[in-house]
């Protein structure tokens, strides 16, 4: 029984490896998203600051409006924090990748 030697012809790639479509704006879009999220967070933060300032200067009419603004700022900060954690995690995962 003849066993043919392993040659160049025995390993034929069935398909050309596909390259991801070049998207030059990929980084920019991601940066935009992060920027928008941060803008939303700073907006919530600013409204909380404003509410606390109004309370401190005696101009606040409703206590619940102040605490609600603070709660919203807290929540949006947590949202940004979680996003940041996920992004850092993904970055570290990529950096650990063996080349």
């Amino acid at each position: 029984m003849e066993i043919s030697a392993i040659g160049a012809g025995s390993f034929i790639p069935t398909a050309e490896p596909t390259r991801p479509a070049a998207t030059g704006s990929g980084g920019k879009v991601f940066g935009d998203i992060v920027e928008q999220v941060l803008a939303g967070q700073s907006k919530a933060d600013a409204s909380a600051n404003q509410a606390i300032e109004a309370l401190a200067t005696g101009q606040a009419e409703n206590l619940h409006a102040v605490s609600l603004a603070v709660a919203q700022a807290d929540l949006s900060f947590h949202l940004v924090l979680e996003l940041r954690n996920r992004i850092t995690e993904a970055y570290q995962e990529v950096m650990r990748m063996q080349v």
Binding site: G40, N62, H64, A65, L75, L79, E82
Partner: protein, 139 residues
């Protein structure tokens, strides 16, 4: 971009709490003036009540909370007592008192407190829901 869309229910609850606070103020004013026989309009104090109206958003959002439309005077009859010694008594010695009934006001006060609490609970539930959704992001 803001996170206003995320906190829509919080704003609605806040408007409810503001409205109930105003109702509480009106009730407190009624109680404070339960014996007042002189008012700017002449005659004794008239009991006041607050009328609420719904705030409409666009057709997708539905109602966007509540606001106080107006404060109205209670037109019910003013009680009279015989008290000829009082300076505001009429020629027959009858004194006209405000139409404020303290038991009714106390019940209204309790209702306003409970309604405020209910709005607070709704805001708290909204906050908890958002926090629970955030835990999805934690691995």
């Amino acid at each position: 971009m803001g996170f206003d869309g995320l906190f829509g229910a919080g704003g609605i609850s806040s408007s409810g709490m503001s409205a109930e606070r105003l109702r509480m103020e009106v009730i407190a004013n009624n109680i404070a003036n339960a014996q007042t026989t002189r008012s700017p309009n002449g005659g004794p104090y008239r009991r006041q009540d607050v009328v609420f109206e719904t705030v409409l958003g666009n057709h997708k959002q539905g109602g966007q909370g509540v606001r106080a439309a107006e404060i109205i005077d209670d037109p019910s009859e003013l009680p009279k007592i015989f008290n000829p010694g009082h300076p505001d008594a009429d020629a027959d010695g009858f004194l006209t008192l405000p139409n404020v009934q303290i038991p009714v006001e106390m019940v209204n006060l309790m209702t306003a407190t409970r309604a405020y609490e209910a709005n607070l609970k709704a805001a708290l539930a909204m906050k908890q829901m958002n926090e629970q959704a955030l835990t999805l992001m934690r691995s």
